[in-house]
């Protein structure tokens, strides 16, 4: 109760009292302080600033040595730890000389100016902490570069430690690796299966430790490369070489001809790429001639023709091209009588249906050895030649059999690739072209209306005989008596007469019931810029007996083709 009353009474007095006490205390303090300064007989000391000192030697964070130099453009990172006696923050300064750095304001600089500075840390760090700085190596740097590190405090007019070059591999100097020079690369040319050599002009001037060597990496694309090889398709890699490295690669046994780009890279012994990477050049796969083999003609069998028309004769062969079967442009064949020779039957202007079928197109077979891909060298071809019925026969054992009995028929397949290189090969063994004995005749003889006891006089009926094979013709003629059903009389076979020239009845030759050979002398059908048919007429006459029934009488005459004589082979055989 008393305390409460007391507080209420002095509620204003207490704060005033407190203000008074504080004011007096301050004044007293000020008076005593002034007295102390003014007194010359008192003790005092001034502490000078001191530079920091390294507690952990400066070093390259990654040792830059002659065996592991720093590539131009890469950083050399210096690091160190220092303490400052004044607890000042400190800066790492790396110079190319050991002279004491100088300060501009609070910034230390290498003696001689910034040109002598490798690097300076970007900011200061507290005493006792590690600081770093980076130097980006330049193309103009020497291979070996001495350095001196200083720890400098970060105060105005500050000071630095003494120079320190570190120790061991991570100590001074740092080594700079310069890029190799690379001015050219070139690939040569080779046949499929051959070897391509890629040459280069490249070198490296670095000699620190040991002289740098250079290595060539050649790629087929631009996907990039390292010292180890191409990222994409690799063509070849050289071994390390003092200069001008080269490398080789083999072409596939089957490779399309033409120029192919190559992309060349150069690296030095330290796997440092040339600034010129990559250089583009090319190599060339030479065109090589195709090769024709395995030519067959009618499967090795003799050829038998079809009368009056053509007969398909099949010729086959294999064409191989080391630039791939797809390199082939045309494959043709010629079929000819051996004495004609391919040299005289290799152009359409030399076509002669008797003896030469030139430049007939061939096609790749539909199954079997087809042309599958650009890595497939060979394909089988088949050629069909439509041989005319009058082509010269080579069958027989003597000249009486054929003027060409001592010959055969041959075929040659000629392949031409897309570079116009050619090859041609003749069949290993010729085949005989058999003789074809054939005739075409008018199918009947119509003597017309005649009276009993009369003859045809000089009015002949004509039968045209055509040599529709490849031999001349003579003929056997025979016949039967002409009869009429129900009639007791007939017209004897001998009442028909024939001749190879027109005649008046009585002057012809009587037809017989047994075949009789006559010299028809129908020449062989032959070719003379066009087909010349060998034809011969047979003229017929008849005598009607005086006693005979009226009405239609019918008979049958046989015209037999007989192989003609030597003299009737026509112009080709004479």
């Amino acid at each position: 109760m008393y305390l409460r009353k007391c507080l209420r009474k002095n509620i204003i007095r207490i704060p005033l009292l407190m203000v008074l006490i504080i004011s007096l205390s301050y004044i007293s303090f000020k008076i005593f302080s002034q007295e102390a300064q003014a007194d010359p007989s008192s003790t005092s000391v001034t502490i000078d600033n001191e530079g920091p000192s390294f507690t952990v030697d400066p070093a390259e964070s990654v040792a830059s040595t002659s065996t592991n130099p720093t590539n131009v453009g890469s950083n050399v990172t210096f690091q160190a730890t220092a303490t400052d006696p004044n607890s000042d923050d400190w800066v790492l300064l790396v110079c190319n000389n050991g002279s004491t750095p100088v300060y501009t304001g609070s910034t230390p600089e290498c003696n001689g100016g910034s040109g002598n500075r490798w690097c300076r840390s970007g900011s200061s760090v507290a005493s006792g902490n590690q600081n770093t700085c980076d130097y980006t190596t330049q193309a103009g740097d020497s291979e070996s570069n001495a350095w001196y590190a200083f720890a400098c405090d970060d105060v105005t007019g500050g000071s630095c430690s003494s120079a320190d070059q570190g120790t061991g591999d991570s100590g001074s100097p740092f080594e700079v690796n310069h890029a190799p020079s690379f001015s050219s690369a070139s690939g040569n040319s080779a046949d499929p299966g051959g070897t391509i050599t890629v040459s280069s002009t490249a070198s490296d001037s670095d000699t620190s430790g040991s002289a740098d060597q250079v290595k060539l990496v050649v790629c087929a694309d631009t996907n990039g490369a390292t010292y180890s090889g191409c990222s994409g398709t690799q063509l070849c890699v050289s071994s390390d070489s003092a200069s001008d490295p080269s490398c080789n690669f083999s072409l596939d046994a089957v490779e399309q001809d033409g120029s192919h780009n190559l992309y060349a890279y150069i690296f030095d012994s330290h796997e440092f790429a040339s600034a010129s990477n990559y250089i583009t050049d090319s190599y060339t796969v030479n065109n090589v001639s195709p090769s024709v083999s395995g030519v067959t003609l009618n499967s090795g069998s003799n050829i038998s023709l079809t009368e009056s028309t053509t007969t398909n004769v099949v010729i086959t062969g294999t064409v191989t091209d080391n630039n791939s079967c797809q390199d082939l442009d045309t494959v043709t064949t010629s079929l000819y009588r051996s004495a004609v020779t391919f040299a005289s039957c290799d152009d359409n202007s030399e076509d002669d249906d008797d003896s030469c079928y030139a430049v007939v197109s061939c096609n790749v077979v539909g199954s079997g050895n087809t042309c599958d891909s650009d890595s497939d060298a060979s394909a089988d071809y088949t050629c069909t030649v439509a041989v005319q019925f009058h082509a010269d026969t080579t069958a027989g054992a003597g000249s009486s059999d054929s003027p060409w009995y001592d010959q055969t028929w041959l075929s040659t397949i000629k392949a031409t690739d897309d570079s116009a290189s050619t090859d041609d090969t003749e069949v290993g063994s010729g085949v005989e072209l058999n003789d074809c004995l054939a005739l075409t005749v008018t199918s009947s003889i119509g003597y017309g209306n005649m009276s009993a006891g009369t003859d045809s006089g000089s009015s002949n009926q004509t039968t045209v005989v055509t040599a529709s094979g490849n031999v001349p013709l003579d003929t056997d003629l025979s016949g039967t008596a002409m009869t009429q059903g129900g009639c007791a009389y007939d017209i004897p076979v001998g009442n028909q007469e024939h001749s190879f020239t027109t005649f008046t009845y009585g002057a012809g030759t009587d037809l017989t019931s047994t075949p009789t050979e006559y010299q028809l002398n129908c020449v062989k059908t032959y070719y003379n810029g066009g087909k010349i048919d060998g034809t011969q007429n047979i003229y017929w006459g008849i005598e009607i007996p005086s006693t005979i029934c009226s009405g239609l009488f019918e008979g049958e005459d046989t015209v037999t083709a007989v192989k003609g004589d030597v003299g009737d082979w026509g112009p080709g055989g004479s």
Binding site: G193, L235, L305, T320, A377, Y447, S468, G469, P515
Partner: protein, 334 residues
């Protein structure tokens, strides 16, 4: 008046020209239709080195350029003292069907053991026989083949190689060289040796192999003889072979091409390019083809996975929908 006459003349001329053209075509077709033909190849049946007891057959082609009707070829033997030695296949009457230009037949001769040595001649007349007749005198076309045979006791050896072939074969398998040989002689004969030089595509000789035990060919026969070469150590690839056939001396040589293929019948196409460094050290090429194939395989696997996931999601969805339908149905029932 003149105009009218001229007009009539013009009409008459036109009609006449049309008539002439029409008649010419009719006449031409008539002439063409009235021609008939037959051919036979070869034109003789001959063999001058038959031995007593020997057999010989010869194939002939009977042809018609315009086989517009069915017909027959009838073969008759004439003026031949050894008619009973000769026979025909399919017979002496040979069907010549409509639309077939060429029909093959065989003439066969069996020479008896007791046959006298000497020459035997005669004729074979082959007549074209048709059903219909063409007029008062029907002309029958025919061809006459000469028979010219000689029986001898002199052995004749006469081999002729007509072609060779080497079929593609699998790596490590036997190489078979097929020789088509015509034995024109009258005794069974065989080649004395077959040599094969195998070359690479650059025509460098890889190996030379030969064999001297060759199957014989029967007399007067064209036959295919296989010569097998085991242990031909060839890599997969394409090759040339120079084949030399000997009958004491070399009677035939030819070059053929063949492939050595994988067991599955394909030929290697993914061969790595051989790469050499400057010092000759071989370096393997990791070709882009392999990378491409890996990408393709990976893409395929991914697509299959996506499809599988899709199918599974679909099935789950279906099951859920069915469950919901079942639940609703049960509720309605309750």
């Amino acid at each position: 008046m003149n105009d009218l006459i001229n007009k009539k003349i013009w009409i008459l001329k036109t009609v006449l020209i049309i008539f002439i053209i029409f008649s010419w075509f009719n006449l031409r077709s008539y002439i063409e239709a009235s021609e008939i033909s037959i051919g036979v190849s070869p034109s003789s049946f001959s063999n001058d080195s038959l031995m007593p007891g020997s057999y010989y057959e010869q194939e002939i082609i009977i042809s018609r350029a315009n086989p517009d009707t069915d017909a027959k070829a009838v073969i008759e033997i004439e003026e031949c003292s050894v008619e009973n030695w000769i026979s025909f296949d399919p017979g002496s009457e040979i069907e010549l069907p409509k639309n077939e230009q060429r029909v093959t037949a065989k003439i066969k001769v069996d020479v008896p053991e007791y046959a006298d040595l000497g020459s035997y001649n005669g004729y074979l007349r082959i007549k074209l026989v048709r059903e219909e007749s063409d007029g008062q005198v029907t002309l029958v076309p025919a061809v006459r083949m000469d028979i010219d045979m000689k029986v001898t006791n002199v052995e004749v050896v006469d081999l002729e190689v007509k072609m060779v072939n080497i079929e593609d074969f699998a790596e490590g398998q036997t190489m078979i060289v097929m020789l088509r040989i015509l034995n024109k002689g009258n005794v069974s004969s065989s080649l004395s040796k077959v040599k094969v030089d195998i070359l690479d595509l650059d025509e460098n000789k890889i190996v030379s192999i030969e064999k001297d035990e060759i199957d014989p060919v029967a007399p007067f026969t064209l036959d295919d003889i296989d010569v097998e070469y085991d242990n031909v150590d060839l890599d997969i690839g394409e090759y040339f072979a120079d084949v030399f056939a000997y009958n004491d001396s070399c009677i035939y040589e030819d070059r053929v091409a063949f492939k050595v293929i994988k067991g599955d019948g394909s030929i290697a196409e993914d061969s790595d390019r051989e790469i050499y460094s400057g010092d000759g050290t071989e370096i393997t090429d990791r070709g882009s083809n392999k990378l491409l194939s890996k990408i393709l395989i990976s893409s395929g696997v991914i697509i299959v996975c996506i499809l599988l996931v899709g199918v599974i999601v679909f099935i789950i969805k279906e099951i859920k929908e069915r469950d919901e339908v079942n639940k609703k149905y049960k509720k309605r029932e309750k």
